[in-house]
Point group: C2
Chain length 330, copies 2
DNA sequence: CTGAAAGCGCTAACAA
DNA sequence: TTGTTAGCGCTTTCAG
């Protein structure tokens, strides 16, 4: 099949080590360098990363574990991460654990067996137990969207609380008092944080939190539509609505359109994520958009930095600001 | 670090080969089997796939190349494929080439260097040139959504033409004559096929194709919205609309809602893909839904079968039927 | 059924 | 600078 370094050595008349050092940035005489390059072309040589990996104990593989690839937020981050890592020769193995803790464990097992060089995870489980072995084996771990207790690794977060607080504050400043919240599922970190932000905004403006204005969805389109429906039914006096993730924002828009609720005349609206959707909506939606590209970039860079050697300094925390994008829905 | 087979041999007092054959389904005396298992537990042994790969020339890696991970159609297929392959010990490396031919080539290079055991691709390029080397090296290739000339590999397709033809026929049977089509971009295989289906339906029912009723989008939400807008403006007499991919369906719904076009009273509507969205819409959308799960399943199974040895029989073609899901939009 | 030994393609001392 | 050599952890003959 493919040519090996041995073949290159034979072809050039050089020693094996010279060839190897050519590929590893060592010093090789100009003349020999040329010879080697000619031989590479001639034999169509390509370095065998598997063999190299056996020797160096590196796989150039990065494991990624996410709750749902079908959630655009995940997909966007992955796309960015994969792109960057690939430019540095790392391959990204993505496991979708479907928001299931057991599947998540299996995914971690899988990656561990595979001996990935590093792990990137958007955790479903609340505990960081499964990550310890990676860290114990000195493999960098980068966590997205959650701070895990007792795990010393890099975390890249969005300031969910502030994002929602700011959004809701805008509604308040626009004279809204009865502001509904489509919240996410229980026991999900981002969901909890966002609810905190909602409460915070009201409190800071001296308004009382009315629990009946909070309706929970499950971060899906259908769930969002239902949550909105029930809120519209139970609280027809609501004058503004904040929806706390993208999929539910789509669901909410569908439900509102169906009922013919006019935005912003009858209901002010702030959605979440996905500029493209917001722009395409009519009226253009005001949204809180998480910086997925930046998240992806930081995650990838941090991973690369750790892989490059900085593996022993304590984990850092990046807390990014969400962006508020003004539309015409308030 | 991790224990090796050598360690197991030492621990159990058996030979290296016995250990190896234990892991490879060979015959091992029951007593020794137990001993080995105890040792595995004790030493926390895990087989090193890298070393194994060097020897067997298998990486247990499958390369995947897709145009856009953010397109839900891709994400759904990948999710399914990844899940199945993982159950068989294969890791999936996904490269998003952003519908760019050059990036696609790079992705193929990347996978080839990585020595993936097989390749799954939803091609952007029209040519199958880049796939040949995989096939030459006896690595199975499965192509999704397109038949590539001169490449002998398995193809999993959806009958796009029929899908659209059937959908449009339903509109015709519901007495619509002026049926708009939101088509996809030029030079994209699926897009062309779907347009063919549209023409076919009209022809078969003795209707003339009016080119001004066809508007092109670019398979994105925004593009879909724009295409619909221009069609509504130029052909206010249009009584039904067929949208030929998911993202554009979302865009179309947004535009229609904005304009207050009532479905189905003023405009009958058939969208594409994504049941969840169709259900969540109001009125519930009639859609043509591609069987992403089935596609994923067949792709994965076919890949596994080839990897399992059937690598030399000529490539097969699977042409799947899209499903028509009746809503209340006609 | 089990053990000894060779070697997959590469890296990394160590010598020269 | 370059060549020699010894493995990385595993599979796989080939004997026993």
């Amino acid at each position: 099949m493919s040519a090996t370094m041995k073949d290159l050595a034979k072809e050039t008349g050089l020693g094996l080590a010279t060839i190897s050092s050519y590929f590893n940035g060592g010093n090789v005489r100009e003349k020999n360098r040329e010879k080697i390059e000619a031989a590479i072309k001639k034999l169509d040589f390509e370095i065998n990363e598997v063999a190299r990996g056996l020797k160096t104990n590196h796989t150039k593989l990065i494991g990624v574990v996410i709750p749902e690839l079908e959630m655009i937020y995940c997909a966007q981050i992955i796309t960015e991460v994969e792109d960057i890592l690939r430019n540095y020769g790392y391959a990204t193995i993505v496991c979708d654990c479907r928001s299931d803790v057991k599947r998540e464990e299996e995914a971690l097992d899988f990656h561990f067996h595979r001996r990935v060089d590093g792990l990137i995870i958007m955790p479903t489980s609340r505990s960081g137990e499964g990550l310890k072995r990676f860290i114990d084996h000195n493999k960098p771990v980068v966590v997205i969207d959650r701070k895990l207790p007792d795990v010393d690794c890099d975390c890249v977060l969005v300031d969910n609380e502030k994002a929602v607080k700011d959004g809701v504050s805008r509604l308040i400043k626009a004279k809204h008092q009865k502001i509904g919240l489509i919240a996410g599922p229980k026991d999900v970190y981002t969901s909890d944080e966002r609810i905190k932000g909602y409460r915070r905004a009201l409190e800071e403006h001296g308004l009382e939190v009315d629990e009946t204005l909070i309706s929970r969805g499950d971060y899906t389109i259908g769930g969002g539509a239902k949550a909105v429906a029930s809120l519209l039914d139970s609280r027809p006096d609501m004058s503004a609505l904040f929806v706390s993730n993208y999929e539910m924002t789509v669901g909410a828009m569908i439900e509102l359109n169906e009922r013919g609720v006019r935005i912003p005349e009858e209901l002010a609206f702030i959605g979440y994520d996905n500029k493209e959707f917001a722009y395409a909506s009519n009226p253009r939606l005001s949204i809180v958009a998480q910086p997925t590209k930046v998240i992806g970039k930081i995650v990838a860079q941090q991973m690369l930095e750790r892989l490059g050697g900085d593996s022993k300094k304590p984990g850092g925390i990046w807390k990014l600001e969400a962006e508020y994008i003004e539309g015409k829905s308030i």
